[in-house]
């Protein structure tokens, strides 16, 4: 590639291959080169494979496969429980390393991120740079990776998926018709099974079908997302690489505009109950909680206030969220007509990182509650629900 007459962007999508498994074998070199799986609960044969090393994949071991099935495919499979402390530390190292090349590094998840290397492009051959990054990641951090290179985030992401492990794929706009459009539509990043099914009802089977479809019909059927999908399929993606983006995903909330201005307290309380339920569901979906909840009140004259309160312990249930929101409402609502109400959990933290300081006077309640939730998670473990969902999220790590 030649940088002289280029005025677009060059984006890398750097994606680790079997990240958890790589980190485990870095910590325990005896695992290197062996079939290894990270599974929810290795003692129970019913645990589910979260990640498998490429050696294990050769035997047919796949993510989301139950342990017993994986062992059948690969009898000498080594199984380890996940250790997120290790993975987070390795992840931090990974992003520090990428920042050596450019400040414009945006972590997307624990093991993948975007880099905007447009400014590097003026100075050196970025294909060589990608090779160097891949080699050094492998040699210095022990992390195999795949890199996608494209003029936008979406294409870079699609490119990094095209060759694994240790692939480098350049996806130019003029190559879309050969490289991207023949792919089935469900392979498109951002399209889940449900959306794919709906698209198929419209005879959209490949990304190419989507790219050629009427943007207005897509917009009519799927709203803003329809338009975005159309643009992505056509390689149009103006999103910038934002190093702060990962930090910004720090609040989870819900708000609603009333059909008519409300000045009855009971009605506002009903709205708060409804919002608390929604916020609980969203927190749960993202597997996070918060110790800092905020309410937003917009009055009928459009004047808007937000008031928040920091708590001792992170919370995530609708009852607790409601209690906080009601207290804030009672304290700060001036009694005038309200047009919009919102509840937001600020600075959310992963549930796995959350702690609750128990109370000497009431810890027995928590013991009861913990027993109950342990039973519940045993049940979900048994049926693989929870872990299945997780596995699907980082489909191929």
């Amino acid at each position: 590639m030649n940088g002289h007459d280029w005025n677009g962007k060059i984006i890398f999508h750097v994606d680790m291959n079997s990240f958890y498994a790589s980190v485990e074998s870095n910590h325990d070199p005896s695992l290197a080169g062996k079939p290894l799986a990270i599974a929810g609960n290795p003692k129970q044969r019913k645990g589910i494979v979260v990640t498998a090393s490429y050696e294990a994949r050769e035997y047919g071991v796949k993510t989301t496969m139950p342990v017993w099935q994986a062992l059948k495919k690969c009898p000498n499979l080594i199984i380890r429980p996940p250790d997120f402390t290790k993975y987070r530390a390795a992840s931090a190292e990974l992003f520090h390393f990428l920042e050596e090349y450019t400040d414009l590094v945006e972590p997307v998840s624990i093991d993948e991120g975007y880099m905007d290397v447009t400014s590097n492009f003026k100075k050196r051959n970025v294909l060589h740079m990608a090779e160097e990054i891949q080699n050094r990641l492998y040699k210095e951090l022990g992390l195999p990776s795949s890199i996608g290179i494209a003029p936008g985030k979406f294409l870079a992401k699609m490119a990094s998926d095209m060759k694994k492990p240790l692939g480098i794929t350049v996806l130019r706009k003029r190559e879309l018709s050969q490289k991207l459009w023949p792919l089935p539509v469900e392979d498109m990043h951002g399209i889940g099974m449900k959306t794919a099914d709906k698209l198929k009802q419209w005879d959209i089977y490949t990304i190419g079908d989507l790219a050629a479809y009427s943007v207005d019909s897509l917009k009519g059927r799927f709203g803003v997302m329809g338009k975005k999908l159309y643009e992505r399929a056509n390689g149009i993606d103006y999103r910038i690489v934002d190093p702060e983006a990962a930090k910004e995903v720090k609040s989870v909330g819900s708000s609603t505009t009333m059909s008519a201005d409300v000045n009855q307290k009971q009605e506002l309380l009903n709205v708060i109950s409804m919002l608390s339920e929604k916020v609980e569901a969203r927190l749960k979906h993202k597997q996070v909680c918060s110790d800092n909840f905020q309410i937003t009140i917009r009055y009928s004259d459009r004047k808007t206030i937000t008031r928040s309160r920091k708590l001792l312990n992170p919370i995530f249930t609708k009852e607790e969220i409601k209690t906080q929101a009601v207290e804030l409402l009672e304290r700060y609502w001036n009694g005038e007509s309200v047009r919009l109400l919102g509840i937001t959990g600020l600075e959310v933290i992963p549930i796995a990182d959350a702690y609750k300081q128990l109370d000497l006077f009431s810890y027995k309640k928590d013991i009861k509650e913990a027993k109950l939730s342990a039973t519940m998670s045993q049940l979900t473990n048994k049926y693989g629900n929870h872990i299945l969902k997780k596995g699907h999220n980082h489909t191929d790590s």
């Binding site: 402390t85 987070r88 530390a89 931090a92 909680c289 549930i351 796995a352 990182d353 959350a354 702690y355 609750k356 300081q357 128990l358 109370d359 000497l360 006077f361 810890y363 928590d366 013991i367 913990a370």
Partner: protein, 380 residues
């Protein structure tokens, strides 16, 4: 009013009473220090209406003459300025005289300060307490008791009664308890009283009062007299009276909170544990939760670790003197344990656990006059 006083004695007294003066009082006169002179000596008073301190400087004692009283009377002077001024005066003596309109002159060496005083008639009178419930303690013991409990009071106003230390007696046994509902510190001592019917219960002294009192208490065996009423407590020293308001409300029953059984017990060096926790806290402080993980290993060894997603992790093993009972994994706020270990003067501590989500107790290895109770943190 007109007198000449030894500067050192006077500065010392002013500093004592100044501890009670708050600049944020709603009663303007209380921003001042009141000075009264009588034929016996000089009395200084400072108060924020929660705490009041009265310090007396006698005209003479067995050895020295401290004050030369030329004319008796009273004045109130702005504490903010007055306390700093007397500290910085150059001479060995200070001469104070009040003229018309409360105009006051301070002379020391060749320095003259003219200060505008306030009307002493406006200054509230200190309460006269009924001295039915009285006992005494050596100053150094009371000082220890405060040091060993007051750190555990709550700083949250959500449950005001927990911002104080609860005093209770059972015959000659006096027990002080402080808790912020996450940790609890309890200290017991023997008291001396002439009163067979001494009955102290639900006497909750604000933590702030005790912290101020602690600075006045000296490392001596000299006794301090303690007078308790329904709403006030008075600590009587030879030349100083320290009054504090008591907190309203019922202090929670805490005796039944101390677990009687145990599942895992251990004895280990106080210093080893303290230093290990301090190291572990270097990382968990970063995570802002002070959470430390603790587990038992084979062969009387415990492991302490803490993790910060950004910084890294630390693991440390300590060999205990003894370790018995079930295996245990527990997480707790390391800062709370450190606070307690710092006030335990014994070489070894004895720790009793009753499960990963139940309170645990730390006691000094060589006596049973003190215990610290902690609730763990729950992980999800």
């Amino acid at each position: 009013m007109h007198f000449v006083i030894q500067r050192e004695q006077f500065v010392h007294s002013v500093q004592h009473v100044n501890k009670a003066v708050s600049s944020r009082t709603t009663i303007p006169i209380l921003t001042g220090i009141k000075i009264d002179t009588s034929s016996e000596g000089v009395t200084l008073t400072g108060s924020d209406s929660d705490i009041s301190i009265e310090s007396f400087i006698p005209k003479t004692d067995e050895e020295n003459e401290y004050v030369d009283i030329k004319e008796t009377g009273s004045i109130v002077l702005q504490a903010r300025f007055f306390a700093d001024i007397v500290k910085k005066l150059p001479g060995d003596e200070i001469e104070i005289s009040v003229q018309d309109q409360f105009a006051t002159t301070l002379r020391s060496g060749s320095v003259v300060f003219n200060l505008n005083g306030l009307d002493p008639e406006e200054y509230p009178r200190l309460p006269k307490l009924e001295e039915n419930q009285t006992f005494s303690l050596p100053q150094n013991l009371l000082k220890d008791m405060i040091r060993q409990t007051v750190f555990a009071v709550s700083t949250q106003e959500t449950r005001p009664v927990l911002t104080g230390v609860n005093f209770e007696n059972d015959k000659e046994q006096l027990t002080c308890t402080a808790t912020d509902s996450h940790r609890l510190a309890m200290r017991t001592v023997a008291t001396e009283t002439d009163n067979d019917e001494l009955s102290i219960s639900n006497v909750v002294i604000p933590g702030k009062s005790l912290s101020e009192l602690r600075q006045i208490l000296e490392d001596t065996n000299d006794h301090v007299q303690i007078v308790v009423t329904d709403s006030q407590v008075l600590f009587k020293f030879k030349h100083l009276l320290f009054f504090s308001r008591l907190l309203d409300g019922k202090y929670p029953v805490t005796n039944n909170m101390i677990p009687e059984q145990s599942k895992t017990t251990m004895e280990l060096s106080t210093k080893d544990l303290l230093h290990s926790l301090e190291r572990a806290l270097l990382l968990s402080k970063e995570a802002k939760n002070n959470v430390i993980n603790f587990k038992t290993l084979e062969g009387s060894v415990i492991e302490i670790n803490s993790v910060s997603a950004e910084v890294g992790k630390v693991t440390e093993k300590i060999t205990c003197q003894s370790l018995e009972g079930e295996d245990l994994r527990i997480s707790f706020n390391g800062k709370n344990i450190i606070d307690a270990l710092k006030v335990i003067d014994s070489e070894f501590v004895h720790i009793t656990f009753t499960g990963a989500m139940s309170p645990f107790v730390i006691r000094p290895g060589d006596h049973n006059q003190m215990l610290h109770l902690f609730s763990p943190v729950r992980t999800y």
